[in-house]
């Protein structure tokens, strides 16, 4: 910059200096010549130049002389006197042309490349072509998520203030002006991103807007691949949903994945977990643009590669039956509270390989309805009971009596229960002598019974006694055991840790320990002490114990097979040309390190549990199931009981395990049992044609009616 100015100044200075020099030289020479000129001419010029009287008369006087001069001395030209000035003039002219040519030469020949690339930068712009996302199928190839290409009218946020454009859009699209203005102001897709004015627009209207783009400043039309969900909310929590990327998404994008604000990315479920697989590779389009950014022509194009398809382990038929069943159970008339409970969840696994065949959670959402901002508002309210929460992995509940299958084995393991032990249940128990009487669910008492019958009848007193044995042998008693001996045994079934399913944000549940309790109650020292009651609560799956339905399903699967499997939803990945590029292999997380005899004993007890309960048994008979099961009813002081049921079948050659919880649903056998029977029955029953009999699952209404709670009714396990 400074050099440019200096160069310019120097050039001007040199030109001026040369001009002056030449002028001096020429003048000196012409003065010399002047005297040699002929007398006539000499006098003439002197007359004009030096006659003071003439000059005093002013220009008019001088003028008359010129005339005379011109006509008399034709050959004496006025320019002769000025030859030196003509010389200077000529040099100045040459200098001007010289400078212009020199600068043009330097720009067009020396620096031409730099300017040419600047010109190209002006001219060309590249745009990435979004790749359409891969599809998602069930285990039999039934499409659960597809793509649909729609014409969408987008507008910059400023367009909302442009009344004329809004009016024109309204006329063309047939949507009221106020609605258009409201859609443009909607920031739900991000403050910076373009706002959707109308999607799925008729091609005729698209053509009209494209052809009259001058009349629609800030409005653009894009073909957008929209996710299509043929069965609505079917398996919505497992599949997840997609949204336009936000600024945070762009910043936090993984290495090797470039996310732009206009991209649609997975936000939950498999869509989120396998986003990289589904996203595909973007193409690029190089275009020539004019100064206003309008595309003049497309120079070249590298087309995008469609994302890979995902084959999930979900069985669409069973999933559909389950989703519908849960909706029927919780909200048969649309709103929560018109049926049983406030929410429900079913997880069913293939125990042989850990694949998740059913993952159903209610209330649920329809992923195709999420463009409507009202839905978000509705689902964020408490009374909607959180439809976005996947209760299979993010619902943590007290497992209640379903836990007895594991705690009974702990008792057998430490010898506090043997095949021959018997206990007498009177309906109430105060083994610790604290005066705080704990009750069996059957307040009239079960009489004398052994461990097998204790499991079959789910007698709490039997388990209180076992808990007391743990306490008595612990540090507060004989000191043979540590305070965490029971917890350590339970950890063989991997409670208190995540299962490792291929979904993000899974919860780990909780197995309370003295350490945990001390930390939890650090501000209330009186409560922070590990007591006998903590054992007796834990052993019946109450108190502070928390599990997710998926954890419980995995643990019951382990009882069935002896192996803890890693649950998974991904079965295969097919690339865009249809080749299988990945196939999930069964993964044994751990083999159960328990006594085989004890395991067989508990299995037998679980198997005998169903026939012992007549109403429950009828449901299993209906589906011709030979299952092993355990019910559970988690008690709350301030709301209705949670109904639990866990079962696997067939008993001899286990194939599927299913777990159900109906939150605030009531008794486990009554409410959750029939659901599990139907799920297992569907899975093991007659195989239907893939895709046959499937229907549309609706998202939940978002409304609820408060459930009546009239104190602790008599629990029925």
């Amino acid at each position: 910059m400074v050099t440019a100015i200096i160069a310019t100044i120097l050039t001007i200075a040199i030109i001026a200096a040369v001009a002056l020099l030449v002028y001096m030289l020429v003048r000196r020479r012409s003065q010399g010549e002047f005297i040699k000129k002929s007398d006539v001419e000499h006098i003439n010029t002197l007359n004009i130049g030096n006659d003071k009287s003439l000059r005093r008369r002013g220009p008019q006087g001088a003028h008359s002389h010129i005339r005379v001069n011109a006509s008399e001395a034709n050959m004496a030209k006025p320019s002769d006197k000025m030859s030196s000035r003509f010389g200077v003039f000529g040099i100045a002219i040459s200098a001007v042309f010289g400078v212009l040519v020199a600068k043009a030469w330097s720009m067009q020949l020396l620096e031409s490349e730099r300017y040419a690339s600047a010109s190209e930068n002006n001219l060309y712009t590249s745009m990435s072509i979004p790749a359409s996302r891969g599809r998602i199928f069930d285990r039999n190839g039934v499409p659960l998520v597809k793509n649909r290409f729609i014409q969408t009218v987008l507008a910059d946020s400023e367009v909302a203030d442009d009344k004329r454009t809004v009016k024109r859009l309204s006329t063309v699209l047939g949507v009221p002006e106020s609605v258009i203005a409201q859609r443009i102001k909607d920031e739900s897709a991000g403050a910076q991103s373009k706002r959707t004015v109308a999607s799925d627009v008729r091609l005729r209207d698209v053509a009209y807007i494209s052809e009259h783009s001058d009349a629609f400043p800030g409005v653009s039309i894009e073909e957008i691949a929209e996710r299509e969900y043929p069965y609505g909310a079917l398996a919505a929590h497992a599949l997840g949903y997609t949204r336009a990327a936000t600024e945070e998404d762009v910043e936090e994008a993984n290495d090797g994945r470039s996310i732009e604000l206009t991209d649609v990315i997975g936000k939950s479920g498999l869509e989120y977990y396998y986003d990289d697989v589904l996203a595909g590779d973007k193409g690029t389009r190089r275009m020539m643009v004019d100064a206003s950014g309008n595309i003049v022509c497309i120079v070249d194009e590298i087309s995008s590669t469609q994302g890979s398809d995902i084959i999930t382990t979900i069985d669409a038929h069973a999933q559909f039956v389950t989703d519908e069943l849960l909706a029927q159970t919780v909200a048969p008339f649309g709103d929560i509270g018109t049926g049983k409970g406030v929410s429900a969840c079913v997880v069913a696994l293939d125990v042989t390989d850990g694949s998740v065949v059913v993952m159903s959670s209610y209330p649920t959402f329809d992923p195709s309805s999420l463009d409507d901002s009202n839905i978000w508002e509705l689902y964020m309210k408490d009374e909607s009971h959180a439809p976005f929460v996947n209760r299979a992995i993010n619902g943590q509940y007290a497992p209640a009596s379903t836990f007895k299958a594991f705690t009974s084995m702990a008792g057998l393991n430490y010898g506090y229960a043997t095949y021959g032990s018997t206990w007498t249940c009177t309906g109430e128990w105060d083994g610790f002598g604290s005066g705080d009487v704990q009750r069996c669910w059957d307040n009239y008492g079960h009489g004398t019974l052994d461990l097998h019958d204790g499991i079959v009848n789910s007698c709490d007193v039997v388990f209180y006694e076992i808990a007391k044995a743990f306490f008595d042998h612990g540090p507060d008693g004989s000191g043979e055991l540590s305070q965490t001996a029971l917890q350590e045994y339970l950890s063989k079934f991997r409670f208190g840790e995540t299962t490792g399913i291929d979904l993000a944000g899974e919860y780990s549940g909780l197995i309370p320990t003295p350490e945990w309790k001390a930390k939890q109650w650090r501000n209330v020292p009186s409560e922070a002490i590990w007591r006998g009651g903590d054992y007796s609560n834990m052993i019946i799956g109450q108190g502070d114990v928390l599990v997710t339905p998926l954890q419980l399903a995995c643990a019951y699967g382990a009882i069935a097979t002896g192996d803890i499997m890693r649950p998974h939803l991904l079965k295969e990945i097919h690339n865009s040309v249809g080749d299988v590029v990945f196939e999930a292999q069964p993964e044994v997380v751990a083999s159960l390190d328990v006594d085989e005899d004890h395991l067989a004993y508990v299995r037998r007890a679980l198997h005998d549990m169903i026939p012992a309960h007549e109403d429950l048994a009828s449901h299993f008979v209906e589906y011709n199931l030979d299952a092993a099961a355990k019910s559970g009813t988690a008690e709350h002081t301030d709301k209705k009981d949670d109904a639990w049921f866990a079962a696997y079948a067939p008993f001899d050659d286990p194939k599927y395990v299913a777990v159900c919880i109906v939150e605030q649903g009531g008794g486990g056998s009554d409410i959750a049992g029939p659901i599990v029977a139907k799920v297992l029955g569907t899975l093991l029953g007659e195989q239907v044609e893939p895709g046959a009999g499937l229907g549309y699952i609706n998202g939940s209404s978002g409304n609820s009616i408060a459930i009546e709670f009239t104190g602790n009714t008599r629990r029925q396990d």
Binding site: K77, L100, A291
Partner: protein
């Protein structure tokens, strides 16, 4: 479209002028052929570039430019036929006409103000009378200075002449139009120098001018005020004029404002032309709108981009011929008045070429001065033809043939 008044007016006069010539001179002898050929090539070349620049932009009409050339030819013929020597006494009339022309946009009904300058009048078509005043100012300067017979060495007379010459400049600054004002000043300076004004006086005038400019800046600092929207505005040199000046002074600084954007795009257009250019009609900088005002102020960029360095040299060569042959005519002219007319015209062209091309290549500050015979705009096209007509008149009426008229 109704025929513009200016059209019918000049045609009528043309007819009258030809009728009054009882003995028309032989055509081949009144024309100085080298100049004529150079002009024909220049006008053709200019029209080609103008066509290329206006072709993609519906805002401009090439037919209008052709109309300007046609009107220009008529005006040129009139001027050519007219004996310029009859005008030598009429310098006061010329001054008055100039002032009237320059001030006419201030008239209530016909005056037009566009982008802050009251420079146009609307008489059926929009014309810029300030452009036409260039001709009358040339005649005025030549008329005044020829009275001194080639020696202006009395300080009193010199100051008087300078005072008269400043009148049109002061008038044009009321529009305001600094660019055209500078053309007036350059015409005055050229004729002053060629009329034999004492060099010492002229140097002194230059010094006074420099001091005056510095003084304007200093005074402005005291007079500046803050406008309603919070920006500082000056009284004497407006913000946009300052901006142009400052952009010129640091042209390489990446700056996003409009003035430096224009300059950057202009330089990109020229530089990317290379040796042979991108071809006629293939410019990307102007046809895709990166270069603003391409057919008018920045038409040189269109030429340089489409035809490259070769095209630029060809244009400058044609200008060189135009100016060179004009000077030849001035040199052989038998009276001072005619010589000064030609010198004034050469001064006008030279300054316009220097300023217009200079601003495109970043040597001069940006002003809206058109490129002779090339830029879009019929007013200036007519002025150029009128100037050619005057040169022709000087040539033919000084030659043996011309003497007979």
């Amino acid at each position: 479209m109704p025929l513009p008044e200016i059209d019918s007016m000049t045609s009528a006069q043309a007819a009258g002028a030809y009728n009054s010539n009882k003995k028309p001179p032989k055509f081949f002898q009144v024309v100085f052929w080298p100049l004529a050929v150079a002009c024909i090539l220049l006008v053709g070349y200019g029209l080609l570039i103008c066509w290329s620049a206006t072709d993609t932009d519906p805002k401009y009409s090439f037919m209008r430019q052709l109309l300007g050339v046609a009107l220009g030819l008529v005006v040129m013929a009139l001027m050519w036929a007219y004996d310029y020597r009859k005008l030598s006494d009429m310098y006061i009339v010329m001054l008055v006409v100039s002032v009237v022309l320059i001030l006419s946009p201030h008239l209530p009904v016909i005056g037009v103000t566009r982008s802050g300058a009251t420079s146009w009048i609307n008489v059926g078509m929009q014309i810029q009378p300030g452009e036409f005043a260039k001709i009358t100012i040339i005649l005025f300067c030549a008329g005044v200075l020829s009275k001194y017979g080639g020696r202006l060495d009395d300080l009193g007379e010199y100051v008087k002449v300078i005072g008269l010459m400043l009148i049109p400049f002061v008038c044009i600054m009321t529009q305001p139009d600094l660019g055209t004002g500078l053309v007036y000043l350059f015409i005055s300076a050229t004729t002053l120098f060629m009329a034999g004004a004492k060099v010492r006086y002229m140097v002194l005038t230059l010094l006074v001018l420099v001091v005056g400019i510095v003084f304007i800046f200093v005074i402005d600092e005291f007079l500046k005020y803050t406008t309603e929207d919070g920006t500082t505005e000056y009284h004497l040199l407006k913000q946009y004029q300052r901006a142009r000046l400052f952009v010129f002074m640091n042209q390489d600084n990446a700056s996003s404002d409009a003035e430096s954007y224009n300059l950057r795009q202009a330089m990109i257009a020229i530089g990317s032309g290379g040796l042979f250019g991108k071809g006629i009609g293939s410019s990307t900088q102007s046809s895709l709108g990166f270069l603003p005002e391409a057919p008018t102020d920045f038409i040189f960029c269109v030429l340089a981009e489409e035809l490259g360095f070769v095209g630029v040299v060809f244009l400058l060569a044609l200008y060189g011929c135009l100016i060179g042959f004009s000077i030849f005519i001035a040199r052989r002219c038998s009276n001072l008045f005619g010589m000064l007319i030609v010198c004034g015209i050469v001064g006008m062209w030279l300054f316009q070429i220097l300023e217009n091309i200079g601003m495109c290549i970043g040597l001069m500050p940006i002003t809206g001065i058109p490129l002779p015979f090339v830029s879009y705009g019929s007013s200036f096209m007519i002025v150029n033809f009128a100037a050619l007509g005057l040169i022709g008149s000087v040539y033919s009426h000084a030659s043996k043939v011309g003497k007979g008229i």
